[in-house]
C-alpha cells in the first residue's frame, strides 16, 4: 500500500502545525468561531450535539495493521475507547476535546493518516471498492488511481471553496460495490480493445434530491483522467449554484443544464487545460502503482478449512455469509461484521480494532479495508487459516454471520450524535437486528439491505436500500418513512416511497410485516427481496405495510 514520501510527511507536518496554531488562537480569543469554523472543518473537526467529532479519512478504505492499532490507541487516549466507521470509508471519534485534537492529528500523521478534506466544500475522501486488489471480478485495482486523485485533490488551490462538497468513487470490478452512480463523479475502470481506461459518471447523489449519475464519457484514456477530472470540477466550480445550498451539488448543475451542455463545457475546459498535464501525473501514478503490488500469496492445503466447514456449523454459517471469492486460488476475502445484533452499526471498540490488526498481520498480509457498508474487510486470507481466524473473531465479538442479511444495516449516527439529524437512526437499527435475530429468520429471508438515515441528507444511503428508512421530525415527534426497491449497485435505482411514515414504536412491526409479506410473495427461496419487488412492484408490499388501509377499502 501507499507509503508517504518525504514530501507527504513534510506537507502533513506543516498542515498539522498550522492547525495547532489555529486551535491555540481560537482558545486564546484571537479567532472568533466564525473565523475558526471553516479552518476546523477543513481539518475534519465538527461540533456535534454533545461534543466535538473528528472525522479521519481512510483513503479508498485501505489501512494496514499499524494504522488500525494507532486508531485504537487514539480511541483510548483521547476518546471513549471506540470509533465509528462511516459510509464514506472514514472513522469518526465522537468525544474529543478541542485542545487534544492537534495531538490526535500528529498521532495520525505518524501512521500516514490525516483528517484533511473530510469536511467542507472540497473534494472529499476518495472512496473505492472495498474488495479492491482482491476481487475475482476485477479488471484492475482502483486504488493507485484513487491515491493519485487523493494527491491531486488535497489542497488543490482551485477547489478549496467549491459550491458544495464533492465526492469521487472508483471501482475496477464488474460488480459495483462502491455505489458509483450515487457520487458526484463515479469512475469505472473499463477495457476497450485491450486498453484500460475509464467510464466517467457524473451528477449522482443522494440527499434531498436523489439522482442516479449519468455517463459523461463512456471511455477516456488513463492519461486523460486527471485533466478530465480537473475540467469537470472546474466547470462545476463556476456553474454550480451558490445561491441555494440545496441546489449547489453537481447533480443539480447537471440536471438543470443537461448532460450535453455539461459535456460541451467540460470539453472546452479540457481543451484549454490539457497542455498543462505534461505527463508528470503518469510518472507519479507508476510510482504509486509500485506500492500496490499483490501480496506474496502462498499455496497450502485446504484441509483445515474443509474440516471446519464440514464439522462446525457455526463456522459454516459464517463462511457462507461472510466470505467472498478471491482472484487467487485458495484465498478468500473475509468480511468482518461490525453489526453484531443489537450493537451500533459501524462501531468497533479499541480492543476489537487491535484484534483485527493482529489478525490482519498474522493471517491477512497486513491489509484491512473499511467498506461503505460499515464493515471491516480482510482482503487476502488463505482459506486454510480461516478456522483459526474465525475463532479469534468470535472471541472478540466479531464473529457475526450476517453480511448482506437483514441485520447488516447501514445507519448514520442520527440524532444520537449529529447536529443535522431530525431523528435517531441507531436505535432503529439495533431493534430491527435484535427482532429478526429473535425470530431466527434472517438466513431464511436471505439477501436484504436495510439502510437508515436520520435526516434528508441521506448519509445512511436510505434511497438505495432495498428497504430504506428515513427519520424525520413530524410536529416534534420522530417519524420514519419507508422507501422500497432502492439499489446502489450496477442497476442503481432510487427507492419508491411506500406511504405515510411510522412512529418509533410502529416502525419495527412495520418492517416485520414487510418482510413477512415478502416471504409470502416470493416464488421460492432463490428470489431475493429486491427481485420480488422488481417483479411485483410496490402494491403488494404496500398492502403488507398498511393492512388497515386494505381493510378500509374492503
Amino acid at each position: 500500500m501507499y507509503a508517504y514520501t518525504d514530501f507527504d510527511d513534510k506537507f502533513l507536518a506543516e498542515r498539522n502545525a498550522q492547525f495547532r496554531a489555529q486551535v491555540e488562537r481560537r482558545i486564546d480569543g484571537s479567532l472568533t468561531e466564525d473565523e475558526f469554523k471553516p479552518l476546523r472543518l477543513m481539518n475534519g473537526l465538527y461540533l456535534q450535539l454533545h461534543a466535538y467529532m473528528l472525522r479521519v479519512a481512510i483513503p479508498y478504505g485501505t489501512l494496514n495493521s499499524g494504522q488500525m492499532s494507532q486508531l485504537a490507541m487514539i480511541a483510548d487516549k483521547w476518546d471513549k475507547g471506540y470509533g465509528h466507521f462511516t459510509t464514506r470509508q472514514n472513522i469518526q471519534y465522537n468525544w474529543p476535546e478541542l485542545r487534544d485534537v492537534p495531538d490526535m492529528l500528529d498521532a495520525l500523521a505518524e501512521v500516514n493518516m490525516h483528517a484533511i478534506q473530510t469536511s467542507g466544500n472540497t473534494i472529499r475522501n476518495v472512496t473505492a471498492d472495498h474488495f479492491a486488489g482482491a476481487a475475482a471480478d476485477e479488471i484492475a485495482d482502483p486504488r493507485p488511481v484513487a491515491e493519485l486523485i487523493r494527491q491531486w485533490s488535497t489542497d488543490h488551490p482551485e477547489f478549496q471553496f467549491l459550491p458544495r462538497k464533492f465526492k469521487v468513487a472508483v471501482s475496477g470490478a464488474t460488480h459495483d460495490r462502491a455505489v458509483l452512480k450515487a457520487h458526484d463523479i463515479g469512475l469505472q475502470i473499463v477495457e476497450r480493445d485491450g486498453v484500460q481506461g475509464f467510464e466517467v459518471i457524473v451528477g449522482g447523489g443522494l440527499g434531498r434530491t436523489p439522482m442516479i449519475g449519468k455517463v459523461l464519457y463512456d471511455f477516456i484514456s488513463a492519461e486523460d483522467l486527471l485533466p478530465t477530472l480537473e475540467a469537470i470540477v472546474s466547470v462545476y466550480n463556476l456553474l454550480g449554484r451558490r445561491d441555494n445550498k440545496y441546489k449547489a451539488r453537481i447533480k443539480i448543475t447537471v440536471h438543470e443544464n443537461g448532460i450535453e451542455d455539461i459535456r460541451a463545457r467540460v470539453d472546452a475546459r479540457y481543451a484549454l487545460i490539457r497542455p498543462q498535464f505534461t505527463g508528470v501525473d503518469q510518472q507519479m501514478l507508476s510510482r504509486i502503482e509500485a506500492d500496490f503490488g499483490k501480496p506474496d500469496f502462498v499455496t497450502k492445503s485446504l484441509a483445515p478449512y474443509e474440516a471446519a466447514y464440514t464439522n462446525d456449523p457455526v463456522f459454516r454459517a459464517w463462511a457462507d455469509t461472510n466470505l467472498t471469492d478471491h482472484a487467487q486460488a485458495g484465498y478468500a476475502i473475509v468480511s468482518i461484521s461490525l453489526k453484531a445484533h443489537g450493537a451500533t452499526p459501524g462501531d468497533a471498540t479499541s480492543d476489537q480494532m487491535r484484534v483485527m490488526a493482529r489478525i490482519a498481520k498474522e493471517f491477512g498480509h497486513d491489509e484491512l479495508r473499511i467498506s461503505h457498508e460499515q464493515n471491516v474487510i480482510l482482503p487476502h486470507v488463505h482459506r486454510a487459516d480461516l478456522p483459526a481466524l474465525h475463532k479469534l473473531l468470535k472471541e472478540a465479538g466479531l464473529g457475526t454471520a450476517n453480511i448482506g442479511l437483514i441485520s447488516d444495516i447501514i445507519a448514520c449516527p442520527g440524532m444520537d450524535y449529529c447536529a443535522l439529524a431530525t431523528a435517531r437512526s441507531i436505535p432503529i437499527a439495533q431493534e430491527i437486528a435484535t427482532r429478526f435475530d429473535d425470530l431466527k429468520l434472517e438466513h431464511d429471508v436471505g439477501p436484504l439491505k436495510i439502510k437508515i438515515s436520520g435526516c434528508i441528507n441521506a448519509c445512511g444511503h436510505h434511497h438505495v436500500g432495498h428497504i430504506g428508512i428515513l427519520g424525520l421530525d413530524r410536529a416534534g415527534v420522530e417519524n420514519y418513512q419507508i422507501t422500497l426497491g432502492g439499489d446502489g449497485t450496477n442497476d442503481a435505482a432510487i427507492g419508491e416511497r411506500a406511504g405515510p411514515g411510522f412512529s418509533a414504536e410502529e416502525i419495527i412491526p412495520a418492517i416485520e410485516r414487510l418482510v413477512m409479506g415478502y416471504l409470502d410473495l416470493r416464488t421460492d427461496r432463490s428470489e431475493t427481496f429486491l427481485e420480488t419487488y422488481r417483479r411485483l412492484g410496490l402494491a403488494p408490499f404496500k398492502a403488507a405495510l398498511y393492512p388497515e388501509a386494505k381493510a378500509d377499502a374492503a
Binding site: 454533545h50 466535538y52 441507531i426 416534534g476
Partner: protein, 97 residues
C-alpha cells in the same frame, strides 16, 4: 394574537469540551436542572445577546424552550438528547447521573 413566549433556557456548547452547557446567572452550568429559566421575552432576548458575546467560552448560543410544570424539562426530543446523551451508550451527561 402573537404567540405567547415559552419559558426558555439559554444553551450552547462549551468551547473546550464541546459538551452542552446552560446559563445560570453569569455561570455556564452542565446540568439542565441547574439552568436559569427565563420567562420574560425581552429579558430573554437581552440575555441571549449578552451570552452570545461570550465566544471565548461557548459556541452556538440559543434559546431553548422548556416545560416548567415539573422541574425543567425540554419540550423537544432533540433538547432531551442534548440534556442526557446518546441512546446507544451511557456516555455524555448521563454518565455522571
Amino acid at each position: 394574537m402573537p404567540k405567547s413566549f415559552q419559558p426558555s433556557v439559554i444553551t450552547a456548547n462549551a468551547l473546550l469540551e464541546g459538551d452542552v452547557v446552560y446559563l445560570n446567572g453569569t455561570d455556564w452550568v452542565r446540568d439542565l436542572s441547574q439552568a436559569e429559566v427565563l420567562s420574560d421575552e425581552a429579558d430573554a432576548q437581552l440575555r441571549l445577546i449578552e451570552a452570545s458575546a461570550r465566544s471565548s467560552e461557548v459556541v452556538g448560543v440559543y434559546l431553548s424552550p422548556v416545560d416548567t410544570s415539573s422541574g425543567i424539562a425540554p419540550t423537544h426530543f432533540r433538547e432531551a438528547f442534548r440534556a442526557t446523551g446518546p441512546s446507544n451508550y451511557s456516555h455524555g451527561k448521563q454518565e455522571r447521573i
